[in-house]
Symmetry: C2
Subunit: 338 residues, 2 copies
């Protein structure tokens, strides 16, 4: 089997770590693995296939002989180094928001639009975590009934911000329980035992970038440029897994049994929906798993063809690292990588 | 000034405690205060006006000479003892769900429908916590533009379940941080660093009672029996204050500046809306306060006349005890109490 040299840019981050673990656990045909990070992590040794690989500092010459470069080191790094990696011959799969809305850059969730990989020009964007899990669930319903409008409210874990945010949540929780003063550095306010309707920066219309991303990326991925959609995104004191309350309206008339069957058969989706027995998707049960979990299916009597859904997925895996590795797998199996 | 004898049924609970504190801090004209609870709390002494009052066990003869009985001890107690209290001559203000939808029982949020107190027959219902804070904010907007549809997703604190739930959240958080096993007794699953799309019991249509209550109570309080509305209610690992992501559609065309002015002038509402400076309503800033805080005002481009709002209030105060005391104040000032 052909082997591919893979680079992970941002290898020491929360998502970078997951990328490495997922490449290994899925048996991705990695030849050489190159772990790239900032100079302060240079020399750090990370486990790989029962031995280890040393981290090297990201530089312009980091991408020689690299076939696939997985980026997860923030937008500024991606803006600068993705074209360098591409010009060195790698196909870039970028987890930042830098290239997502760029004309000609495919924005891909394999279960939804792997065909968008056709004719890529070397940079492929991995969508926002909160967008991915929602479109995986909405796509099969759209195929059946035609999506008309989406209203989503999110409950997003702090690991979406990164390792330091997880440390901050846990440190604040410890301080709170001990009755000690709480320090907030990563977030503008206490996040332990609190929540913030604030993810990313705000625009003049009052929407945050995260809310804007969810709308724009959903339209691009689902190829529904005029989809009516609005989002409210909220950070909650949870370590891993994003949850979403999704209200969807359709052209056709959904029924619950059919929706449950369609979702149960959909790739990447698991239906967890027996609320009378306290069975529904939750962050702690989705963490570390690959699926997008959906439950709390209800007809919405306030709309003509409305459906309420509750969607939970591991934001570091399907929301980021797993989806990126799945894109790489599609590139190989669909013949878009030499 | 005329004094009124007041009984608190459920005086040792989280809401009962707030009722006592709020009666005192607002200078409510209490003559004698009777604190009623289960027999196991009998004799417990609680502070009142720099001295104390002993708890007595609730019994059929507990309401002699009581003018106002504030109930917060669950639906079963209210079903049984509210008629007894009323027949003994007290006006009952009941915080449980037992009487809320009963024909002839006013369901009152003073800022919204104090006129519903007219012609009460001795039992007045205090609405569900998550309903109260939403209608306080929606009413002035409805008066201006005509409410057409509401889609709400909630983020509800554990104190809504009671004292034991608060203890469970904190004990679980301690265990989690110490790497020890987590016990769940009050909730069916871990609530620390997790969330549950589950409040109250579920019906065959998949909706929980909490979701049903929000819809039915909003229609009754706002006197909009046909209001199109749907709710998804979620328990989050927060001690005090419920938050709500509210999407509202109107007959008229709202604009943000006018909405902000209307809300700033509305009784019981405070506008906290400068997200670019990280200023928005949050649980920790609403806790212990009397207002319903609203922010994140945004036009919803996915609807003809849509508005997104973020509403936070202390669920034990405005969501329960404060609203009950305000109802008692209205009874006096509007002449509905002899």
């Amino acid at each position: 089997m052909k082997q591919y040299n893979v680079a992970i840019v941002g290898a020491t981050g929360a998502v970078g770590e997951q990328m490495r673990l997922i490449l290994e656990s899925r048996g991705f045909p990695v030849g050489a693995l190159r772990l790239l990070a900032s100079p302060k992590s240079e020399g750090k040794r990370l486990t790989w296939r029962r031995t280890g690989v040393s981290v090297t500092a990201l530089a312009e010459d980091s991408f020689a002989d690299v076939d696939i470069a997985l980026f997860s080191a923030g937008s500024a790094i991606s803006r600068r180094y993705a074209p360098i990696a591409r010009d060195a011959g790698a196909v870039v799969i970028d987890n930042s928001s830098a290239w997502r809305m760029e004309e000609g850059v495919p924005l891909v969730v394999p279960e939804v639009n792997r065909q968008a990989l056709a004719g890529h020009s070397g940079i492929i964007a991995n969508p926002n975590c909160s967008t991915i899990q929602m479109v995986v669930v909405l796509k099969p319903l759209h195929d059946r009934w035609g999506l008309k409008r989406v209203i989503v409210s999110t409950y997003q874990a702090v690991s979406g911000t990164g390792r330091l945010a997880v440390e901050e949540l846990l440190a604040q929780a410890r301080a709170y329980l001990a009755g000690e003063p709480i320090n907030a550095e990563i977030y503008p306010h206490q996040i332990a035992f609190n929540l913030l309707p604030h993810i990313d920066v705000f625009g003049a219309d009052g929407y945050s970038n995260e809310e804007r991303k969810m709308v724009n990326e959903t339209r691009k991925i689902m190829d529904l440029p005029d989809l009516a959609m609005t989002a409210t995104t909220v950070r909650v004191p949870i370590v891993v897994s994003h949850s979403e309350s999704v209200n969807a309206e359709f052209v056709g008339s959904p029924d619950i049994d059919a929706a449950r069957k369609i979702l149960a058969a959909a790739p990447g989706v698991e239906v967890v929906d027996d609320p009378e027995n306290a069975i529904y998707p939750m962050p702690i049960t989705a963490a570390g798993k690959d699926s997008c979990y959906v439950g709390r299916l209800r007809l919405d009597g306030s709309a003509v063809n409305g459906l309420n859904l509750w969607v939970v997925a591991d934001n570091l895996r399907k929301g980021a690292a797993l989806n990126a590795v799945q894109i790489a797998e599609c590139l190989i199996s669909d013949g878009y990588l030499k």
